[in-house]
Amino acid sequence: MRLYVRKERTSYILMIPILLLIIVIFAYPVIRTFILSFFKISFGASETRYVGLANFKNIIRNQTYWQALTNSLYWTFGNLLVQLSIPLFIAILLNKRIRGINFVRAIIMIPWIVPAVTIAVCMRWMLLPKIGIINEMLDSMNIMKKQIHFLGHRFTVMPTLILLNSWKFLPFGTLMILAALQTIPAETYEAAEVDGASGFQKFRYITLPLVGSMIWFVGFLAFSWNFNTFDLIWLTTQGGPGTRTQTLSILIYRTAFKTFRLGEASAISVTVAILLIIIGVFYFKYLTPKE
């Protein structure tokens, strides 16, 4: 019994480092953001003044805020749609026993391990009109005769960025779903075939329920990564053209570090945090698959 109690105490002690990190880098900043959102702060932190809800009133009246919110939702859910459907499709294709599949699984990870900066700067070059390879390919395949300024046109910019971002995420999602698929024994499918199940029925009643918890997990990671995306957007368009790709992340950064209104940026952060907590709780509470 003594040993048991001692181990219990040790286990709490062992958790101190991670708790400390979480408190310093996550909990404290979140609380601090809430507090800062009630202040008017001039950069340099020498002068702060309590202004109550003024920051919130300002942002709500501001059209760019609502535009950024819409952009963020468009961005996040657009990405999720691509990132959950295509990897599922590719994972089913790759769920085969062939020689060298381990090597395939390793090199397919490349887009995921490559820094977003690389993808952003190289793609800017590849997507240019007149000299970019993408336009050249579309041209030579006779799909598009006109040169498209992918990142400069307000209709093409968001879909282009969503595709780029999803491409970076795709290998990761694919591998995760593939791993879940591989836990399904082949006999299950064979038994279903004997019972006369069609391909779609097998997918609907065997595959989907069994990879459900993995899709839940991938969906969660994808959601938080997407909502967070800053580098890819900032390094390709900086939120432009106009405010077409200005998501909330971009807006917060711009407000805080370009126009130096830290209080207002904190207020935007608070609304984002509240929105995400609601979505997060909903996701964990209602969408977690039951075992």
């Binding site: 480092p17 310093v24 932190a45 700067v121 969660f220 900032w234």
Partner: protein, 280 residues
């Protein structure tokens, strides 16, 4: 029957190859283009270079200025990423071991909580961390970046390792302790080797994340001499006239180290990552 099976296999391999090409061709294109002379880079795109040159690489490495010093930023990134990986391995191993050995806590809850943290977008942490680090002197320092990066990855790594430690039979530890091994000896000699795929995964994940991180580096680092690779590469594009040649060469050079690190451990990584996720 036999023939149709062979055909099926060929079709499968074909599909795999096509998928791979569709996903990976841009990297191959960037790689071959980094050897193109400038006039080919700035002309109508041809996939393969007509003339090969290593000038882009030479410009990048030899033409150093205080503002643009590519070897230096590669070195900086290497330092920051390795130390982040080391620190996050140590912290997440210790914490995960603690969590998996606590009988009173609801382990599922705690490790779910580690994931729930990621609901908060890192961008909302930016301003307070910036102010806090300026105050305590961690602004514009590698140590500051390392602490931030470790904190960003450690909860996830802990969550991953908890599921690893739980698969290790408790009897192994108990019998080691009966043989007279201390708690620390058991942990180092028995637990860590058995969890090594998980530890490699955690290290690689931390390294990759730190290697490519841009947002915190952008806000926290002000001196050119301290820039990390992602930040340094991005500064090249902020100039009035973008030199695409050295930029492509630089892109290739910052991919190579992660690639070299990742390929040998990819088997563990994929196994470790997916195992953690499946056990959830």
């Amino acid at each position: 029957m036999y023939r149709s099976k062979g055909l099926k296999k060929i079709v499968t391999i074909l599909i795999v190859v096509i998928t791979l090409i569709l996903i990976l061709w841009p990297f191959f294109y960037i790689f071959v283009s980094s050897f193109k002379p400038l006039r080919e880079i700035m002309a109508r795109a041809k996939f393969f270079p007509k003339n090969l040159t290593i000038r882009n690489y030479r410009t990048l490495i030899i033409a150093r200025t205080p503002v643009r010093n590519f070897p230096r930023i590669l070195y900086n990134t290497l330092v920051v990423s390795s130390l982040t990986a080391a620190l996050s391995i140590v912290i997440s191993c210790i914490s995960a071991y603690g969590i998996s050995h606590n009988r009173r806590l609801m382990r599922g809850m705690v490790s779910r909580l580690m994931l729930f943290i990621y609901v908060f977008p890192t961008i909302i942490l930016l301003i307070p961390i910036y102010k806090m680090f300026t105050m305590i002197g961690l602004y514009n320092s590698f140590l500051g970046l390392i602490i931030i990066y470790t904190a960003l990855v450690a909860p996830f790594c802990t969550w991953l390792l908890v599921s690893f430690f739980e698969t290790i039979p408790r009897e192994l530890e108990e019998s080691a302790q009966i043989d007279g091994a201390s708690g620390i000896t058991t942990f180092i000699r028995i637990i860590l080797p058995l969890a090594s795929p998980g530890i490699i995964t955690v290290g690689a994940y931390s390294f990759i994340t730190a290697w490519g991180e841009y947002m915190f580096a952008l806000v926290m680092i002000s001196e050119s001499i301290k820039k990390t690779a992602a930040l340094g590469l991005a500064t090249f594009t902020a100039e009035q006239y973008i030199e695409w040649g050295p930029l492509l060469a630089g892109s290739i050079l910052i991919i190579i180290p992660v690639f070299i690190l990742f390929l040998p451990v990819s088997k563990f990584f994929i196994k470790g990552f997916t195992a953690g996720a499946i056990k959830g």
